[in-house]
Symmetry: C2
Subunit: 413 residues, 2 copies
Amino acid sequence: MSTSVSPLAPKHYPAMPAIDGVRIATAEAGIKYKGRTDVLLFVFDRPAEVAGVFTRSKCPSAPVDFCRQNLVHGKARAVVVNSGNANAFTGKRGREATEKTAAAASAAVGCASNEVFLASTGVIGEPLDAGKFSHLLDGMARDAKADRWLEAAKAIMTTDTYPKVATETVLLAGVPVTINGIAKGAGMIAPDMATMLSFVVTDAPIAASVLQALLDKAVGATFNSVTVDSDTSTSDTLMLFSTGTAATRGAPAIADVDDRRLDDFARALGRVLHSLALQVVRDGEGARKMIEVQVTGAATSVSAKRIALSIANSPLVKTAVAGEDANWGRVVMAVGKAGEPADRDLLSIWFGDIRVAHGGERDPAYSELDTSACMKNEDIAIRVDLGIGDGTATVWTCDLTKEYVAINGDYRS
Amino acid sequence: MSTSVSPLAPKHYPAMPAIDGVRIATAEAGIKYKGRTDVLLFVFDRPAEVAGVFTRSKCPSAPVDFCRQNLVHGKARAVVVNSGNANAFTGKRGREATEKTAAAASAAVGCASNEVFLASTGVIGEPLDAGKFSHLLDGMARDAKADRWLEAAKAIMTTDTYPKVATETVLLAGVPVTINGIAKGAGMIAPDMATMLSFVVTDAPIAASVLQALLDKAVGATFNSVTVDSDTSTSDTLMLFSTGTAATRGAPAIADVDDRRLDDFARALGRVLHSLALQVVRDGEGARKMIEVQVTGAATSVSAKRIALSIANSPLVKTAVAGEDANWGRVVMAVGKAGEPADRDLLSIWFGDIRVAHGGERDPAYSELDTSACMKNEDIAIRVDLGIGDGTATVWTCDLTKEYVAINGDYRS
């Protein structure tokens, strides 16, 4: 595991305001790690509205199966997250572990088992012993406090080198409402030690179906636009909860996704998810540089995103950035291999503000010196214009360094 | 560039027999490299039948465009290959370079320009100065000899650490015919310094249309089943030529792909391509281990191949093998992310002969010690049985090491 904090870590953390109706507790259960917290409990004192999106993996973890099942009820009273073990590919014993954890949580909080949501992150294939932490939930539920967001983010870390939090406060029909989020993830999405998990809570009184629609829309340009290594976890989980407590301060109940009073809220939710997603990329395993890949002029936006991800997932593009090499030939390669409409002779490529290729060949004004200087930056912007349509997309990734190989090749042996 | 030969290199090279009707010359043109050959000329003294398959990239190199155009004529008199510059993304100047080279070759050999085939490999985006080698072709055509196959393979190397050759001799209706092949490639398919090129010549009198059908069929289980880094070159080229000279020894002319007399030849062609493709993988940039990924029990063979490639292209699987870690959790992840039909509870996974996972969880007989011992081998076999159908596929890749990052992150800077 990493011992030093990513050079791309945030320089400071926002103050995370308390949100009425949700309390937080963390504990050291020693599931795998020693000397740090590894269990997180969210308690909603009254049933919260809930929405979620999960991994598209055909081999999802037991907690993902469990959450999907409970999500149809649309109400949450408790969330239990453990780090150190993903409870994935654990078969019948995995299901038993989720049931045992949910039973303990429902007893601790005083709710139905289908109002409990679970997530686990850590090693795959090792049976998860829920007995290591289920007995702690009772005390945690009693001691949970509203102002523990940073502690919450710390308890769910695996190979992360820093906790990830974000917050926004906006007006909903003139009433301030807050959105707090936490996330973990360092290999996007490494299955063993770096599953992506994120939990977001608001006090805005918004119905579950509307939360789900907002989340489905917001995830495309945020968590679904970041990649560290193209590997998709068995456990990816993003959940959004509403305590609705801003209603006591006059916020209106929103039950229609087309309600225009939601516009500012939706944008703020987008900013929270965007911040968390970029924090995940900036903590990418071994990352030394963040890369923004912007594709414009594609046939469609779907096509633009496929091309952007082809560039962002290319080992050769990522190693070139690691080597501070403005190797736009590899960008051409990645455009070409995406299989999307593209015409070599209409392609333009920029590194930062410098156009390096244009009209099917190297830009006549290309300067190796200027471009090399640009590649020394911590944040690298690659832009490709295809010149054939209006489709655009932006995705984010990080460079591929020897440390990535070391982290993923050495840690278990 | 690499200075030491891959530990996975062949321990010896086959003797490459001469093939009547084709002569070979190589030369030092100093296109980029110093003190080594970098131009290859094949001369067919009578028009050879020709077939080819090329990169699927939407941004192909100028020589690929040129070859596709000439292939419709189905006859070859000369092939010119240069290393050091890929003549890709070079626009109008790239087309001019192919025309200049083809004109020089047709003058040297005494043939039409549409009987010339070209390939270039090396850096992308730099204009190729055909003048550096076009004046050499005349002398090369005069001096070309039949017994220079290994020299041919050496002249087209870029980041390759060893030349790649293969040969088979089989009976065609009782008459011995020979198939000789050469290949280059080290990052499959790295666009800058390791484009995959392969040229195969036989004396069997087989019509171009039949050669094309044989090649289309054979490429699926050979060159299209290997991957080093999932990156597809702008320049991938595989060509098959027939001099037809075995006819003088009584071999029958074959004009029908369903002619059963072709069966042994088709199998031998498959072995040549398989050998060359595996030599490319074994020279994968930074490779220390070769990985064979076999998928059985998939819904269909197309599905099996997608799953096999998902495993073979996963940076997390490849780094685990580099670290000699039997991390089957990452194999589960790669199966899950392929998006193909899969049922966690029916999945079985083997490393070598050791079944590590079965029925949705770790194999009860799993031994970390035995499995770790198996991971110390140079050749690693990963097998996944999905338990839902009859689809099978096998693909080959190599591990992902810090040297891969060094080769691709450091070489241009």
